[in-house]
């Protein structure tokens, strides 16, 4: 039984704790570090090399007729593009494309690269052709007869 001369003070119940945010922060930080470490930031593009729509069998015959003789570009082992034996820098090649396209809008371009030429030289020529507006471009290669 309680003594009437003493005063009983009861401490109020502490409010119920909210759901702790600490585990969520832990998970978030782990995810953040994971994505920071595994991500790569390579900004890459692509150039189409093969598409089934390119099949010569389904090419428009009328377009082929109006395209006339194809323009042949060789790429030497040094990577320099050559047209009719004359080595050209990429800006000069672009100018040549533009002048040929004025006469023949459906110009066909064939690129015959040396096997010793590097990838950049081929892409530079393809890039110059695309910038100039060439839409009919093919890369051909010579195979050693068996």
């Amino acid at each position: 039984m309680q003594d009437p001369s003493t005063l009983a003070l009861t401490r109020p119940k502490p409010p119920k704790a909210l759901i702790s945010l600490v585990p969520m922060i832990d998970v978030l930080l782990i995810l953040l570090v994971f994505f920071m470490v595994t991500s790569t930031y390579l900004n890459l593009d692509m150039i189409p090399a093969v598409q089934r729509a390119d099949d010569p069998a389904i090419a428009d015959p009328q377009l082929t007729e109006t395209a006339g003789a194809p323009m042949m570009i060789r790429i030497g082992s040094d990577g320099i593009p050559t047209v009719r034996g004359e080595g050209l820098a990429v800006p000069e090649l672009e100018t040549l494309f533009l002048s040929r396209l004025q006469d023949t809008p459906a110009l066909r371009v064939l690129i015959l690269p040396s096997g010793a030429a590097d990838m950049q030289s081929l892409v530079s020529v393809m890039d110059a052709a695309t910038r100039s507006g060439v839409t009919n471009l093919r890369v051909v290669r010579l195979e050693v007869a068996e």
Partner: protein
């Protein structure tokens, strides 16, 4: 009797702002980052100004400057490439193949590879390039 009010306790710094920042960074890295398998050798693709956006999906074949091959980051011998790629093209509906060749790779490695991939039934083969904003210097 003078009763002094106890000094107010400084409220603890709120962690809501921290959570906001962490969450924004998390979403940023999830959206921006790519988790493609990287090649086991150095590959710096050639630069081009007219490249299109890279399509997703498909298989990536990496080609080093010396002609070493890797499929989706795993090294593969030249002899085994046909078999591995034929199985992949047969087992999956993905018929896109990306050729990620180093810019100094000789074309005697690249062009026959494209022909081989096409012969195996790939519907679309693309060359990986690095976008370039300034005119190329030759």
């Amino acid at each position: 009797m003078k009763l002094s009010r106890p000094a107010k306790r400084q409220p603890p710094e709120t962690i809501v702002a921290l959570i906001d920042v962490v969450f924004f960074m998390l979403v940023f890295f999830m959206l921006i980052g790519r988790m493609d398998a990287t090649a086991p050798f150095d590959v710096s693709p050639p630069t081009a100004q007219t490249g299109a956006d890279m399509p997703s999906g498909g298989t990536t074949i990496s080609l080093s400057a010396l002609g070493e091959l890797a499929i989706d980051g795993a090294p593969v011998a030249d002899d085994a490439l046909n078999e591995v790629m034929a199985n992949r093209l047969r087992d999956t509906s993905e018929t896109l193949v990306r050729i990620n060749a180093h810019r100094e790779t000789e074309l005697r490695h690249v062009l026959p590879l494209i022909s081989r991939i096409e012969a195996l039934g790939a519907e679309e083969v693309v060359l990986v390039v690095t976008p370039e904003t300034t005119p190329p210097v030759q």
